[in-house]
Each structure stands twice: as C-alpha cells, then as structure tokens.
C-alpha cells in the first residue's frame, strides 16, 4: 500500500506459474520444484494458501487411497468404481493415472505430519470404506501449504487472477495471466512459460437452499468461484462434461458429510414413517437407466434419485438412523469429530437445534447443484492423458495439458477425471507439474510473449467496476439500488435464479428441458451484457465482481452442455424432461465444447469414451 494509493503495475516472471494454492496447486508447486531445480516456480492465490480452497477447515477422511502395498486395491479397481458411479462416462486413462500415483502423496502427507488413523488390529490405515481412510485432518491444508511454500520461489497471496494471457508470437499458446492485489489494488502481470490452472470449481451458480446468512453454508466452499473454468474457457480451451453437475445428499441445513456415518458407523436411511424406501424405486429406476441400477455400489445419482422420488411422493423428510450406532461411545466421538475436522457448521447446526444423534435421527436433504472436477463428478477442461497408455484421441504430447499449448490443469480444472478428492487433486497437481516442467524444458529458450496492448486493455476492463461505482454513485442519494450499476451480489443472485429455474436447480426439482434451457441462455445473455455495468465500491467488491464473471462463464458452459446432451444420464443429479431416459446408443460419449475467442461462438461435439479397463 502506498502513501497516496497510486496503483502500480507489478510484473512477475516465472517458468511455471501455478494459479490457485489449494490441494492441486500445492501439489503442482511442490512437484515443479523437484523436476525444475533451476526453474522459477511461482504460485498465485486469491486468499492465503495456509487456509485457501475447499480444504480450509480440514478433512476427516482422505477419500482416494488405494493401499496398493497392502494389496487393498489396484488402480484399475478404482477406474471401475469411478466409471460405475458416473454411469459409464469417465476418462479411464486419467483415472488410472491418478489412482496409480495417489498412494505416494498420501504417504508423503503422513511423513509431513498429517495424523492418519490406524486400525488397531492390522496396523494399517484405518479404512472408512473401500477407498477412504480416516485422518485427523484439521491442519491438512496448513501442512500441505508448508510443503508448497518450501518449494516455490514466490507465493503471492491475495492476488485474484482474472484472465489468462496468450502468446502474441504463436497462436493458441498461453503466455501468462493478469490479476489484481486484493489488498493494495496493484495490477499484476504474470509472464510464464507454462501455466497450471489449479483454481476452484463452481459453487454459487445455482440458488442455494438457504438464502439469508445461510447462503454461506454451501456444501462446497463459497470461494470456489469457478475460476477453474472462467480462466480457460475465454481463451478457447475445450471443455468436457460441463453438464455433469453434482447434487449431494447431506445432513439438513449444515450440509455436513455423511460418508463416515454410512461407511464407518454403518448407519442407514429411512423415510418419515421409519420405512426403507430405496428398493421401492428399483423398477422405476431400471426403466430409466437400464442395467446401471444393478451396479455395486449403486451409483450416487441413483441413490439421490430414489430419495428424491420418495420425498416427491410425500414421505419425507428422509432421516439417517443414528440412534443405534451412537450408543457406542467410540462411534459417537467419530460422528462429532467428523464434523469438527471438516464441516464445523454441522456441529453448530445440531447444537443450535438440540439434535443429539444418540436420541434423534437427523434429517438429510439433497443440496443445490455444484459443478466441479475433483469430487464425484468430473466437469472441466478436456486434457491430454498419460503418455504411456492414453488412447491416441486422448493424448497430444503433455499429460494434463489442455487444448491450449502450455496451459495445464489439475484438480477441479480437469474434466473426465472423477473421484480424485483431496489426495487425487494433489497427485494430479504433481502429474501436471512434471509435464509442465518438461514442456518448459522442451521450449529450450523460446519465450512466449505477452502483448502489452492486451494486458493494458485488460487492466481497463478489470478495474472498470470501481470506476462504474464511483461515477454512478453520484446519481443516487444512497443505498444499493442504482439504475446504472449492479452490485456483484445482485448479479450473483440473478445468476443463481436463472440457473435454478431454467437449468435444473432445486426450485425446479432438478428438472429442465430444451425450451427452459433456451430461455436460460437468453437470460444469461442479458446478464452477460449487464456484467459491464458491475459496480464495485472497494477491492473486496472488485474481487466479488470477477468471481461473478467466472461464475457466469462457467454457467453458460453448463447450460450449453446440458442442452447438448439429449438424455438423462444421471437421474438424481438432473433430469431432461424431454429426454427422460438414459440413451447409451447415442450418448455413451463425452460432450465437448469450445468457445471461440475470435468469433464469440460456441461449438459442441461428441467424443468417444474408451473403456480401456475391462
């Protein structure tokens, strides 16, 4: 900060630029140093890496661990599991790749100091389920951030990256990024040879269930503002499976996790009258999706579907039966610590409503939809796979490189690669980093060039909301209502309403169809136009403004992909009212989109799914 607040332009040069300091970003930063001893590695994060990203409050389980050295699981088993859960549509090459590496990252976490619970009988990691192990992960993020800090040349905290910069000497090649310092307001121009996008997926694009203060209690972090999509889409990177949004069954209101309860505490669900209900919907579901209902375990979306149907039939609320399990003091401790190490809000919610699972069976609910690449669904950029075995159509030189040269991704950013969670995202960051360092070395001295004209014009655009507010403010007495500018929160709530009503949110019971999606695009178009009229009172609001920009870009992709896929592949996540059944004949494929930065047009295409594992 200066004495008289004059805005500076700060230029940062690096070999590898990691955008986002979450699990994937910390993995990428860490690994890049190992392979690029003499390279300049820079990580840039919009918050502070010690607690940024979805793992801010910690985690109570690591959901992706093979346990290969104990013969517990092999990578191909995980591919089958993820494939089943996604109703057949995953990038099996990417999935195998993450699964074969992930154990190493987990062992590394333990070496660094993450307390991993041990099974007292076997001495192995305490399993929560087939893929999950239990940890005391309150400090998971600070520990991982420490590793990244040791590896990076520089970590820039509180810089919001808003745009990627392209190489002016060679088409379709990235050259860096720009953003602003959320504290000082200074303009940052990052010039890099390779860029790894490890930013967050999309929360807050659909209207959440709680709309007052409770807006903050989204299942996925409210600061996951879709920059994983908002950065690559405008530069023409191809995207895949953006329709594959996730809806989660979680504890009511607090959205606390149910995994440990189901798997470790062996709880189960029942309807309002104490009846088992899932089996009631077997035939109806089979009619919709065919043999997929017979998979073990039952795909997550189909379990959601049964619950939604039961509630629609008027037999909600659905509850989880905990009173039996909670009589065991060890299980009771696990049940509470599960929240304290991962979703403290659930403990607060229960304390506030006097819900003690020992005496009350708590309510479950289905969440509003989220779009991301690291959890049980896989929306994101279309990327190249591992060099050793990816099918030709999935491989174009460097692992985890997008269709833009030099632009890599990891974590939420990468599409088609499901069930990574925290450890898989970290591992994917490492995978992308090795490839990015190789890419930098292969450039051998050639340096992508940023265009000064481009970043100077972006600078105008980036700070415009501050200008809009300052000038527009002269028109009104006071308050939030102005005819000439929109506050970022106004834009966000409008976006959430559009997506909710037209693209299958909770208000529509996750239902949509082509007429609705068409109207949704029209409304999104007007919102996009209105984004030029955002007004930001200060730098915090400016950050909110650019988070909204990224969310709107992602939402348009989600809407277009949802319209393109003419089937209901994942009932329980969303439904196409005009194509209510799963259609393996025409739609056993990935959807791909590309926004053309020159023409402003979107093109959609199908890409085959190769089942390389039997």
């Amino acid at each position: 900060m200066g004495l008289f607040s004059r805005r500076k332009t700060v230029t940062v040069d690096s070999d590898v630029l990691v955008i986002g300091g979450g699990m994937a970003g910390c993995g990428a930063t860490y690994e890049a140093r190992y392979w690029g001893r003499d390279l300049k590695i820079v990580c840039v994060e919009k918050a502070k890496i010690e607690r940024s990203g979805a793992v801010a409050q910690g985690l109570y389980a690591i959901n992706t661990y093979m346990g290969m050295h104990w013969d517990e699981n092999q990578p191909e088993d995980h591919v089958r599991y993820a494939r089943n859960d996604l109703m057949g549509l995953v990038r099996e090459d990417l999935g195998y790749d993450v699964a074969r590496h992930v154990d190493a990252s987990v062992h590394q976490f333990e070496e660094w100091g993450l307390p991993i619970m041990r099974d007292p009988e076997t001495g192995r990691y305490q399993r929560e389920g087939k893929w999950q192990i239990m940890i005391h992960g309150e400090s998971y993020k600070p520990i991982v951030a420490e590793a990244a800090s040791k590896a990076a040349d520089e970590v820039y905290n509180r810089i919001m990256v808003t745009h990627l910069l392209m190489d002016k000497t060679k088409p379709n090649r990235v050259a860096g990024a720009v953003g602003f310092n959320v504290r000082s307001g200074d303009y940052y121009v990052f010039r890099a040879k390779a860029v790894i996008v490890c930013a967050g997926g999309a929360s807050h694009i659909f209207k959440p269930r709680a709309v007052g203060e409770g807006m903050g209690r989204t299942w996925y972090a409210p600061w996951s503002s879709a920059s994983a999509y908002g950065l690559p889409i405008p530069v023409g990177a191809k995207m895949t499976q953006m329709e594959n949004r996730i809806v989660l069954t979680r504890f009511k209101d607090g959205y606390g996790p149910v995994g440990a309860y189901f798997l470790h505490l062996k709880t189960y669900t029942e309807n309002a009258y104490g009846e088992e209900y899932e089996s009631k919907w077997y035939d109806q579901t089979k009619d919709l999706v065919g043999d997929y209902i017979d998979m073990h375990p039952v795909p997550t979306c189909l379990r959601n579907h049964a619950m939604l149907e039961e509630i629609r039939a008027g037999r909600g609320p659905i509850r989880m039966v905990t009173t039996e399990a909670f009589q065991d003091p060890h299980k009771e401790t696990v049940g509470w610590e599960n929240f304290l190490g991962m979703t403290i809000g659930q403990a607060v919610t229960w304390a506030s409503q006097n819900i003690d699972p020992k005496h009350t069976n708590p309510e479950l609910t289905t969440s509003e939809p989220y779009v991301m690449g690291s959890h049980a669904t896989c929306s994101g950029v279309w990327s190249s796979g591992p060099e050793d075995f990816a099918p030709d159509e999935y491989q174009w030189g460097y692992n985890r490189m997008t269709t833009v040269d030099g632009l890599f991704g990891a974590g939420d950013t990468i599409g088609g690669s499901a069930h990574k969670f925290s450890s898989g995202s970290f591992a994917e960051g490492r995978i992308a980093a090795k490839a990015a360092v190789k890419y930098v070395n292969d450039l051998s001295g050639e340096q992508p060039q940023v265009s000064e004209q481009e970043y100077e014009s972006l600078k105008q655009e980036i700070y415009q909301p501050l200008e809009n507010y300052k000038i527009g403010r002269n028109e009104i007495v006071a308050g939030t209502v102005s005819p000439s500018y929109l506050l970022p929160m106004h834009g966000l709530q409008r976006l959430e309403k559009i997506m909710d009503e037209y693209v299958g949110g909770i208000g529509a019971n996750y239902m949509t169809n082509e007429p609705l999606l068409t109207r949704g695009l029209e409304l999104l178009d007007m919102l996009k136009e209105d984004l030029t009229c955002l007004g930001a009172e200060d730098l915090h609001q400016l950050q909110r403004a650019w988070e909204l920009h990224h969310r709107v870009v992602a939402s348009e992709a989600v809407t277009r992909h949802t319209m393109y896929r003419k089937e209901t592949r994942w009932p329980g996540y969303y439904y196409r009212g005009d194509h209510p059944k799963l259609d393996d004949k025409d739609w056993h494929c990935f959807t791909l989109s590309r926004f053309d930065p020159e023409s402003g047009e979107w093109t959609m295409e199908k890409v085959p799914v190769y089942h390389i594992i039997d």
């Binding site: 200066g2 008289f4 607040s5 959320v182 504290r183 000082s184 730098l539």
Partner: protein
C-alpha cells in the same frame, strides 16, 4: 528548552488561572465524555448482565483471595504491561504512548498548579520528564500511525486515508507534536510563531479531550474489565472455551 517550565513562561500573555481553568475543563470533558459514552451505550448494564449470566453458569465459586489474585494479575498484565496486545510491536508502541502520556499529563498538572509562574523555581526534572513524555508519545504514536495500524498494514488502506478510528491517534499526535513545535519555536525566540504553535497545541488538545465521547477512550476501561472477567470465567468453569490448553496457563 528541556529544563524550563513551559507553562510558567506562558504567563507573559496568559494569567495562570487560564491554564488552570483549561486543565480542569479538560478533565471534566474527559470524565463527562466517558460517562456520556457509557450511558449512551448502556455499557455498564451490559457488563453487569454479562457478569450475572456468567455467574449463573459457574461451576464453582471463587474465594475472595482468588478473585483478588485474578484482579492483580489483570492489572499487572493488561494494565501495567499493556498485555492485551498479542503483537509485540503494538505492545511496545502502546507502552511508549501509555507511560509517555502518564508522565506528560502528571507533569503538566504539577507545573500548571504547583509552579504556575516563572518566579517559582520548578525543579528541572519536572519539565525534563514532560519533554520525555512528549517524545515517548510521539515515538510510540508515529510508529503506530505509520507502521502498525491494522487497517493499513492488513487491510490495504493507504496511510493518509483517515478514518473515524483515527480521531484519537491523530488528535493525540497533533497535540504533542505542536507541543514540541511550540517549545522549539519558543526557544528560538519568535514570539508570534510560538503563539501560533501554542494555539494549535491547545486546539488539538481540546479536540482530543473533547471528542472522548466518540473515540475509543472508554474502552481503555472496558478491556481490563473484560480480561478480568475472562479469568474469572475460566476459574469458575463458566467459560465457553474448551479447557485443555497451555493458552490458559500463560494467562
């Protein structure tokens, strides 16, 4: 400069009663301002209610000696050594301002009431202490203003964009800075400039003490009270904080 009584020298153009009346007025302003602030906010009611609620939750009662010991610890730590500040730099800067102010105010009152005219020989340590007090306030204060204010250091605000919370520190620094300037100019011999500097000194001092109602002054008393209350809660078992940690042992 450092050894002569600045207020005695004023009698060249101001009768001693003027400064004495002004001092009394400032004391009244501070007391009235603090009381008005507390009445306006019902602070006393709040603390009393809080204390009652906390006693209702208490799992054990403190003996008299225990309570006294907790109070003594609060005075020793929070009050005497500005222990309420976790940042070492803020703590040190506050100590400079706190003790500097103490020295400056006591010597001011002593000089104005006990040695109001140049004929009465002021022991030289008194004006020396006055000047030291002024310098200490300036050291702690300017350090705080330029390098330690949280809204500047952590929240990115520019140094010279003044906010409501700056009322106290700006008027305090204005007051003691013009006090020093007045002394320097006075020593130099320019009577007009020295009167102007003195006028500005009095202006800032008046605003400093007159705006106590709207500044954070009252909190100077609230904070040790609350620190004491927290210690009592821990000892009585009525604290909402969990118990097993050395964090408490340090307190």
């Amino acid at each position: 400069m450092f050894t002569s009584n600045p207020f005695a020298e004023l009698t060249a153009f101001l009768p001693p009663i003027a400064m004495q009346a002004y001092t009394v007025l400032m004391v009244v302003a501070v007391v009235a301002g603090t009381i008005l602030d507390m009445l306006h906010k019902s602070s006393a009611k709040f603390f009393a209610l809080n204390s009652k609620k906390s006693k209702a939750r208490a799992k054990r009662t403190l003996r008299g000696a225990e309570t006294v010991s907790l109070a003594a610890r609060t005075i020793a730590k929070e009050v005497v050594t500005s222990g309420e500040f976790c940042s070492q730099q803020r703590r040190i800067s506050h100590l400079f301002m706190f003790y500097g102010f103490f020295a400056y105010i006591t010597t001011t009152v002593v000089m104005i009431f006990a040695y109001p005219t140049p004929e009465m020989a002021t022991p030289i340590f008194i004006p020396m202490l006055w000047h030291i007090g002024v310098l200490m306030i300036m050291l702690g204060g300017y350090w705080f203003f330029f390098l330690l204010r949280a809204n500047v250091v952590h929240d990115g605000q520019p140094v010279f964009r003044l906010v409501e919370a700056d009322l106290f520190i700006v008027t305090l620094l204005g007051s003691v800075t013009f006090a020093l300037i007045w002394r320097i100019v006075e020593t130099g011999g320019n009577v007009t400039m020295s009167k102007i500097a003195f006028g500005l000194y009095i202006l800032f001092t008046t605003v400093l003490f007159g705006t106590v109602r709207w500044s954070k002054f009252a909190h100077m008393f609230f904070k040790p009270v609350v620190a004491f209350q927290r210690r009592v809660e821990e000892a009585e078992g009525s604290s909402a904080l969990p118990s097993s940690t050395p964090h408490q042992e340090a307190r």
